[in-house]
Point group: C2
DNA sequence: ATGAAAGCGCTAACAT
DNA sequence: ATGTTAGCGCTTTCAT
C-alpha cells in the first residue's frame, strides 16, 4: 500500500480510503490511485486489514464436516458456501471422520485464524470446551446433530419422525418383521432413528425383536454382511429399514447378490443417486441437505449481525419417496 | 498475548518464545507462562503472527473446484485436505460452476488472504492474469485441466487414452454405430474425450457420423433427452459412450425408460455410485480422483518447499471396469 | 536467559 | 479533501 501511495504520489491514508470506498477523495486523486493499484497489481492484505479494524470480522467461517467427500456433507457444504459467498465470506472446511479429537483440532485451527463463526456437524458429545469461544463472540451453529452440554443454535432433520413414517409405511404394507440397519450408536442421528423405529413398532403393537436390530454399520460391506446374516435367520425379516446411506447401499447389494430384491422390502433413510433407476427402484426418506446448510448459514449470519435472541433448535421435515422397494408386501409381491 | 505476559508476570517476548517453542526460556518461567495460557484459554492470532514474520507462510491454501458438492470435486477435495492436514495447512474451498469470472473472484479472495498456494480446476481458458501471482511466489497447480497460456504444474487423467480404450472396447464387441454424449465443448476434458472417440473410430476405419455426437449435456435431463433423440434416428446407434457422469446417469435413465437397457450398450467415463448393482451393471472408465488430489497437493507443497524445477504435467492412468452394460453386442445380446 | 523497542500492512483518530 | 500519528497482535532486532 505504501508502494501504491508512492507511485500515485499521495498519502497512505488516501490509498486506504480508495481501497475501502470511503468518501472524501477527489476524483482526480482517486483516478491516480486506481491507476497505481492496477499498475502494481495491488491487493490489500485482508489479514492486516482486519488486525487494526478491531472488533471487525475476518469474513471467514469454519466448517467441520464428517467428510467433505460424502454426499450429505458436501451438499451441506455447498449450501453454506453459497450463503457465505453472497456476503463475501470465505469458508474453511475440514473433515473429522467422527473423531472427536479431530473436531477439536479443526476448531482450534479455525480459532487461530480468527474465523467469525463455525458451523459443525459434531463428532463429540461434549462441547463445553467451546463455551469460552462462544462467549468471545464466535457464532456457533450445530448441524445434523445437537451440541452437547452447550446452549447453541442447532439445525437438524426430523430423524424420529422420519423413522416413524418409514416404519409405519412398512407396517402399512403388512410387514411385522422389520429389520433395523444403522450406523454407530455413538452417532446422534443413528440413535434417533432407532428410537423412531421402536416407537413406530410400539404404537402398532409389534414387539421389538433385538435380533433384527443391527448397528455399527460404518460402510456398505458391513451392512451387506449384516443383511445376509439377518436373512439367514430361522425367522428372517420381510422388510429392511436401512437408516443411513451406507446401510442402504449395502442392503441393496446384499439383496441383489441373493436375488431377493423383489421379495424383501427395503426403505432407506437418505436418498441415493440412481435409486430411481434400480429395479425395483429404492424408496427412501429424503433429507434436504441444501435446506439444512442454508438454514444453518443464515442462522450463523443472523447471529453475526447481532441477533442475541435465545438459541434456536430448528427441525426440518423429511419426505417419504415411494419408488417400489418399500412397497413390496410380506409375501414378496409388489402391491 | 499481553494479557498472558501480565498474568505470568513476564515480558511479552518470553510468552512469544514459549508459544513458538523457541529456546532460551527457563523451565520455571515456561511453566508460569503455560499456566497463564491455559487459564486465559489463550490462542495466538495466526494472522497477526504471520504479519511480522514476513516471507513466512499463512499455512493456508485455496482450492477452486467446479462444485464442492459434486462427487469428483469432493473426492479431490478430500485427498487435498488430507495431504494439507499432514502439514498443518488449512484449505479454503470454493465452487465456480464453470464460470470463469467466479474463478477469478475466488482466486482474488484467496490472494487477499495471502494463501500460500492455490489448486485449481480451471473454468477459464486464459490464466495470464495469474502470472504476477505466480511470480510473487504463490504456488499454483492445475488439476483435471491444463492452464491456459501459463507455465504451471498440471495433473490430469488420461482423457484421450481412456476414450480410446472405451470406444475400442465397444468396437471390439462389434459396434460400428457408437454415439458420443458429452459435456460443454468449452471444457477441456470434454474435448479430449471427444478427440479420443474420433481417434479410436479412425484407427478402426469407422467413419465419424456427426449425427451421433451430442455435446453440451450439462445435466442428466439433457443427456436423457439426447439419448432418446439418438435412438429414434432412422439409423440409431447400437452403443453409447457417455463421456461424463451426468451423461452416464441421463443415459441410464433414458435407456430404462424406453426399456432398451439390455439392447443398447453403454460405457461411461467416470464411475458412478451403485453402477455395480444395476442390471445390467454399468461398465465405466474410472478415474482416480483421490490420486489426482494427492498428486496435486504433493506437487504444490514440493513447490512451497522450494522446488524450482521446470513445471510438471502429470497424466494419471484410467481403468476400464467391465460390468456388463459395455459388453452388450450390436444385436442386443450380452456376450 | 530476559525484555524493551521497532516495525509488519493496515486502519482509527486526529490533525491540517 | 488530504495527510500524520498511533496502534492492532505479533515477531524481529538488539540490549541487558
Amino acid at each position: 500500500m505504501l508502494d501504491v501511495a508512492a507511485l500515485a504520489g499521495v498519502g497512505l491514508k488516501t490509498v486506504s480510503r480508495v481501497v475501502n470506498d470511503e468518501p472524501g477523495v477527489s476524483p482526480a486523486l482517486e483516478a491516480k490511485v486506481r491507476r497505481a493499484i492496477a499498475q502494481l497489481n495491488y491487493r490489500r492484505d485482508a489479514n492486516a486489514s482486519m488486525l487494526r479494524r478491531l472488533g471487525s470480522k475476518t469474513q471467514t467461517i469454519g466448517l467441520v464436516l464428517e467428510d467433505v467427500a460424502n454426499p450429505f456433507s458436501s451438499a451441506l457444504h455447498r449450501a453454506i458456501e453459497d450463503t457465505a459467498r453472497a456476503r463475501g465470506v470465505l469458508v474453511f472446511a475440514g473433515s473429522c471422520d467422527e473423531n472427536p479429537l479431530r473436531e477439536r483440532e479443526l476448531i482450534g485451527s479455525f480459532r487461530d485464524r480468527r474465523v467469525d463463526g463455525i458451523i459443525v456437524v459434531p463428532a463429540s458429545e461434549d462441547h463445553t470446551y467451546l463455551y469460552g469461544e462462544q462467549r468471545a463472540g464466535t457464532a456457533l451453529v450445530f448441524v445434523d446433530r445437537p451440541a452437547g452440554h452447550l446452549d447453541a443454535d442447532t439445525v437438524g432433520s426430523d430423524n424420529v419422525g422420519g423413522a416413524v413414517v418409514a416404519v409405519g409405511h412398512l407396517l402399512g404394507h403388512g410387514h411385522r418383521r422389520i429389520a433395523f440397519l444403522g450406523d454407530l450408536p455413538t452417532i446422534f442421528t443413528a440413535r434417533e432413528r432407532l428410537r423412531g423405529y421402536k416407537e413406530a413398532l410400539a404404537s402398532a403393537g409389534v414387539a421389538v425383536d433385538e435380533n433384527l436390530i443391527r448397528t455399527g454399520l460404518r460402510d456398505p460391506q458391513l451392512a451387506a454382511q449384516a443383511v445376509k446374516e439377518l436373512l439367514s435367520l430361522p425367522n428372517p425379516p420381510t422388510a429392511l429399514f436401512t437408516s443411513q446411506n451406507f446401510s442402504t447401499i449395502g442392503g441393496i447389494r446384499a439383496l441383489r447378490s441373493i436375488g431377493l430384491e423383489r421379495q424383501v422390502a427395503l426403505l432407506g433413510f437418505d436418498d441415493v443417486v440412481l435409486a430411481d433407476v434400480l429395479d425395483p427402484a429404492i424408496s427412501v426418506i429424503a433429507q434436504d441437505p441444501q435446506a439444512l446448510g442454508r438454514t444453518a448459514a443464515e442462522l450463523l449470519f443472523r447471529r453475526l449481525d447481532g441477533d442475541g435472541s435465545p438459541s434456536v433448535h430448528d427441525v426440518l421435515p423429511v419426505t417419504l419417496i415411494a419408488r417400489g422397494s418399500g412397497e413390496i408386501s410380506p409375501n414378496g409381491r409388489a402391491p
